[in-house]
């Protein structure tokens, strides 16, 4: 592992920071970032009873279910507070099915053969600037392994919180789904308000073997900065899934409602024949947030398919860009892709951009692309008000209507949270 990190660091030092995204920010002083911070107390925690009750209280306040009360809804939780995974519930039940769900640092100790086999196989250290940085300095994250034929009995969930000032969070998550397995993975992210910008450069890798399915859902509400754009998280993340086996499936669903700058492209490499990738996204920007997000669907095998539904909502002075790549390799026969990118503008100072890239090297492919742009305006709000619906209800109807194709892909509890989150963010932006 040390060698891996050192090599990555050397690679990173030789790389130049990328500047092609549709976002702008003052230069990051990489020396100035604290790369590791642990909440007190440190050390191995084998059960939640050992966790500092203050920490548990914090999570409760954030509405994050770390305690066993979550057992009723069948969700196992790995909570990562600053750079340390503070607790993973339901370990025993998962063990019964052979499912491994623990922190990456534990996995490196307890399952080195799996880590060696899979880590960096989907996102190599040299992949990009931030992946290289992450590979050198990643501290913790979640590891999840589903053995052959197992449908994971619980939804797996990770909550990330960046608490200490000036800390970057560089978590690394690895999910491996062996043949015929299934897992539903939920990720939630939050951070308190701070004046300075904090960097979140995570890497998430997913491997799906033959006939396996991994569903990965994220609701992200990192602190986005104030209305003048001061402070906020830089969310520069590399997420990629590889459908290695035939008939495998990976689907990414994200609701990005926070961060000063969001720069991420959860992608799927479709190696296996008949494999499929899906990307469902709602990205909301308000105040002075910036987003450049989208996906890459790389079709390599035969009869592969991908679906992209991206909904961008921009309000106030924010800037929201969709960037997507659909690439059909020369040897990929009968590939199918459907892409739909919709933008919703709220007010007249925001911007929405779409940068779709289609690279098709095989003439048997079917590719469909649709895009639309629309506005929420005061007339629509008044129309609904004149029928007895108040402003809050009106925004809710309009935003829900716009996002429903994406929200229905979220697990139920996330979709309720997502709707409320968007309503809250848009409240002051309309009219």
């Amino acid at each position: 592992m040390l060698e891996f990190r050192l090599k990555s660091f050397q690679r990173w030092q030789k790389m130049t920071e990328p500047e092609w995204a549709h976002v702008s920010y003052p230069p990051i002083d990489f020396q100035d970032i604290r790369y590791y911070s642990a909440p007190k107390p440190k050390g191995n925690l084998s059960s939640l009873d050992e966790v500092d009750p203050e920490l548990i209280k914090t999570f409760d306040k954030l509405g994050i279910p770390v305690t066993e009360q979550k057992r009723l809804s069948g969700v196992a939780v790995d909570a990562v507070f600053d750079s340390v995974s503070v607790g993973t519930t339901h370990q025993d039940e998962l063990k019964k099915h052979g499912v491994i769900f623990c922190s990456i640092s534990e996995a490196i100790q307890d399952h080195p053969e799996l880590i060696k086999k899979y880590m960096a196989s989907v996102v190599p250290a040299a992949d990009n600037f931030y992946a290289a940085l992450n590979s050198a300095v990643f501290t913790d994250g979640s590891f999840c392994y589903i053995p052959k034929g197992v449908t994971c009995p619980l939804d797996l969930s990770t909550y990330f919180r960046i608490n200490a000032a000036e800390t970057g969070q560089f978590e690394r998550t690895l999910i491996v789904a062996e043949e015929g397995s299934y897992v539903n993975y939920l990720e939630g992210c939050t951070a308190p308000m701070r004046d300075e910008n904090q960097l979140h450069a995570a890497v998430v890798e997913i491997v799906a073997e033959a006939n396996a399915e991994v569903r990965y859902s994220t609701v992200q509400n990192w602190y986005a900065g104030d209305e003048d754009g001061v402070g906020g998280i830089y969310n520069f993340v590399t997420k990629r899934g590889e459908c290695r086996g035939n008939h495998s499936k990976i689907s990414w669903t994200q609701v990005e409602a926070g961060s000063a700058i969001t720069w991420k492209y959860p992608s799927v490499v479709l190696k296996g024949d008949h494999s499929s990738g899906e990307f469902y996204s709602v990205a909301l920007t308000n105040n002075r947030m910036q987003a450049d997000t989208g996906t890459k669907m790389i079709h390599l095998g035969n009869n592969t398919s991908s679906t992209i539904i991206s909904k961008g909502i921009s309000a106030d002075n924010s800037s929201n860009a969709y960037r997507g790549l659909v690439k059909i390799a020369a040897g990929a026969k009968n590939a199918r892709n459907y892409s739909q990118c919709d933008s919703l503008l709220v007010g007249d100072k925001c911007s929405a951009s779409t940068f779709p890239y289609l690279e098709c090297s095989n003439s048997s492919a079917t590719i469909e692309h649709e895009a639309s742009t629309s506005k929420i305006n005061a007339d629509q709000i008044f129309y609904l008000q004149s029928r007895g619906i108040d402003t809050e209800g009106a925004i809710s109807l309009l935003v829900n209507g716009f996002c429903k194709e994406v929200f229905k892909e979220l697990p139920l509890e996330f979709s309720v949270e997502a709707v409320k989150l968007l309503e809250m963010k848009l409240e002051n932006s309309i009219g």
Binding site: S386, R387, G388, I389, D390
Partner: protein, 250 residues
């Protein structure tokens, strides 16, 4: 039921309503006519609370639970919940929100306000289909997003469908007949006639006499340059049809 007293309203710098006085009682149908730019649409919009218009003086007193409340103190959604309804001249499109979802949200909001039990989706669907039949509307229209890709006639019928569902005490129908062919207009008029009763009132803003052949007004008012310059019964409408407005303005 409603008393408009000396109502003055601006849009931007321009004063549009220059002292409107109008009383409408339950069971009555009033028609408001007048040349373009006289303020006919503005009157409806101000009563329903459109944010573009600023009221500079006057009152709009509406009977609520045997008391008179000034509508101008109320938010638009509260006015609607007390029973004010406006049919828009140019209904806006609401993509992503189906007619059913929208109608049920509005209906239940009004029920909650009036202390009446909300309807569950099954009962509501039955209730809706009766109203659809009244307006000869295709049931498939319910799952379509509100007014999106609707023809002019469909949009106007959709407005009256909402009126039928929400059952207002005062309906302000702003040029409901404009852009409608004769058959559509008859359907809309029949719908309105079926809804109107001695418990509610209708104010029709219109340019044309022909709608008034189907919905017979008790009173006709002519609005000119922000003021009502003449009121009469339905025969006034015939006179205007014949002679235009010059004889009134001069």
């Amino acid at each position: 039921m409603i008393q408009v007293k000396n109502l003055h309203a601006h849009v931007g710098d321009k004063e549009i309503l220059k002292g409107i006085n109008l009383t409408v009682n339950a069971g009555e149908v009033h028609a408001i006519m007048g040349p373009n730019g006289s303020g006919k649409s503005t009157l409806s919009k101000v009563i329903s609370g459109h944010p573009d218009y600023e009221v500079t003086s006057g009152e709009v007193l509406f009977d609520v639970n045997f008391k008179q409340k000034d509508l101008l103190d109320m938010e638009p959604e509260d006015r609607a919940r007390e029973g004010i309804f406006m049919s828009f001249q140019y209904p806006v499109e609401i993509p992503g929100v189906s007619n059913t979802v929208f109608l049920r949200a509005a209906f239940n909001a009004i029920c909650r306000h009036q202390g009446v039990e909300e309807m569950d989706p099954m009962d509501f669907n039955d209730f809706l289909s009766d109203k659809m039949k009244l307006l000869k509307m295709d049931p498939s229209m319910l799952s379509r997003p509100v007014n999106v890709d609707f023809s002019g006639g469909e949009k106007k019928r959709n407005e009256i469908l909402q009126m039928a569902v929400l059952n207002p005490r005062l309906a302000l129908l702003d040029e409901t007949d404009s852009g409608l062919d004769v058959d559509s207009m008859k359907i809309v008029a029949n719908g309105i006639n079926a809804i109107k009763s001695k418990h509610n009132a209708v104010v029709l803003v219109t340019h044309y006499q022909r709608l008034l052949d189907y919905i017979v007004p008790d009173f006709v008012h002519v609005l000119y340059q922000g003021k009502i310059i003449k009121s009469g019964d339905k025969t006034l409408a015939y006179e205007i049809e014949e002679k235009g407005y010059d004889w009134l303005i001069g």
